[in-house]
Amino acid sequence: MILSKDEAVCLILGMSKNGEVSSPTKLNKLLARLNLYFIPIDFSFLLNKFGSFSADLSSLQANDYYGITPYSYMGRSVNKFILKPKGQELFTETIKPKIDKILTDEEFNSLKKTIQYLGSLSVTEISDNEHKKLLVDIDDRFKLKQKINENFIELSDLYQQISKLPENKIAEIRLKALVEYCYYLIKYLKEKRFKHLSEQEYDFDAHMFDYYFLYNISQVIPFLNKQISEKEKDAIAINKFYQYFVNSVKEEYPFSIDNQNLRELIV
């Protein structure tokens, strides 16, 4: 499961106050934030000094689902995004049913509140908040390395356990697949992506998914530990995490099942 570009934009607009987002930069930040809620969207994000940046967003044009309206703000012309009735229809009939497969109503309402709260902040405030969470700043490199090592050790332990788990239900199979995927993903981040961390200054070529995945793996480990020993699995949550890690990225990110050379990164 992945939300297309239009679906992702309509999700943000549909959750925002008055169905509006006041600038493309803010829309970028809010879309990026969906990653911290494990929602796979078809946008690729790169790192820049202001946080996550998506080149795809600058090419967005008004369509049947949302309009782009210029307005004047402090002497500058800024474009705001506005949800159209067809976008609202897409939200209700297509996006929400997809979201219902990965989020409970409570989680969805919490996401909606967060998006509305973030929408009230400035772009810089949203970026700072994201940088701190993801340990993107150079000053946080030590913490970042520590986090990679801790997560790798914990996932190695979890990975050792999955061969003993049954495969009688889809949720059980998916849980094993999630652990398997996260283990190889953190191994890849540790051994390949963040290998030369201490030698580098700010890495402007970094893919934001390196940071999103690392942060999200650390969030999901306690859940995995608990689920492995639970008799009744939480199928919705397992599916949410699985869909996020496996389907958020396509060929443009090396650790992806769509990359025909993935095997070389794993072996």
Binding site: I170, R174, A177, E180, Y181, I257, N261, L262, R263, I266
Partner: protein
């Protein structure tokens, strides 16, 4: 005089086997192809195409209570004989997801025959004619009996065919025909049906 039309009903496993699974790029190296199908896919497809060409409806049984088990069974069958040396459980999950999505879409193309929970008499018929099957359990499951009950009570002018790979049906093919007037068609022979 109208043309008497036969009824062709498929069990859930056979319907799922109509799915063509797209192999994600990273796994294609283990298969040397881009698409995977269940072993009887071509035969089932041939029958489905014949029915479609003649505008004959296809049927399935509802409610589909065992769909999760059937999806896992078909996924295992699709994977049989392959050795995937990387992210094997992830690949299996991807197959399961594609089968689930396929099931959500294809079920709209099939008309429904409602299973019947009144299986007391049918159960007795089977119990007094129990056969030695290759399967672990010689007795059909209650859900199998509900299919037979629902189908036998379904009104149709022509013949009733049940396409299935389940030995609980074809192992009792004679009994089911004699007592319930249903022709059980082994899935791997379904392409030979004249429709």
């Amino acid at each position: 005089m109208g043309i008497i039309k036969n009824t062709y009903a498929f069990d859930d496993s056979s319907i799922l086997k109509l799915c063509t699974v797209n192999i994600p790029n990273s796994f294609q190296i283990f298969f040397q192809k881009k698409i995977l199908t269940a072993r009887n896919y071509n035969k089932l497809k041939l029958l489905i195409d014949k029915l479609t060409m003649q505008d004959i409806p296809k049927f399935r049984f509802v409610p589909a209570e065992n769909i999760e088990d059937n999806i896992m069974k078909v996924a295992n069958q699709i994977l049989e004989g392959y050795n995937i040396q990387m992210l094997g459980i992830v690949f299996k999950t991807e197959i399961i997801d594609q089968l689930t999505e396929f099931n959500d879409q294809i079920r709209k193309e099939f008309l429904e025959i409602v299973k019947d929970g009144d299986i007391y008499g049918i159960k007795q018929t089977f119990e007094s004619n129990l056969k030695e099957l290759n399967k672990e359990d010689n007795m059909p499951q209650d859900d199998d009996l509900k299919i037979i009950a629902g189908y036998s009570r379904y009104e149709c002018d022509g013949n009733k065919y049940l396409i299935t790979e389940d030995e609980h049906f074809w192992g009792y093919g004679d009994l089911i025909l004699k007592n319930f007037n249903i022709y059980v068609v082994k899935e791997w022979e379904c392409h030979t049906l004249n429709v």
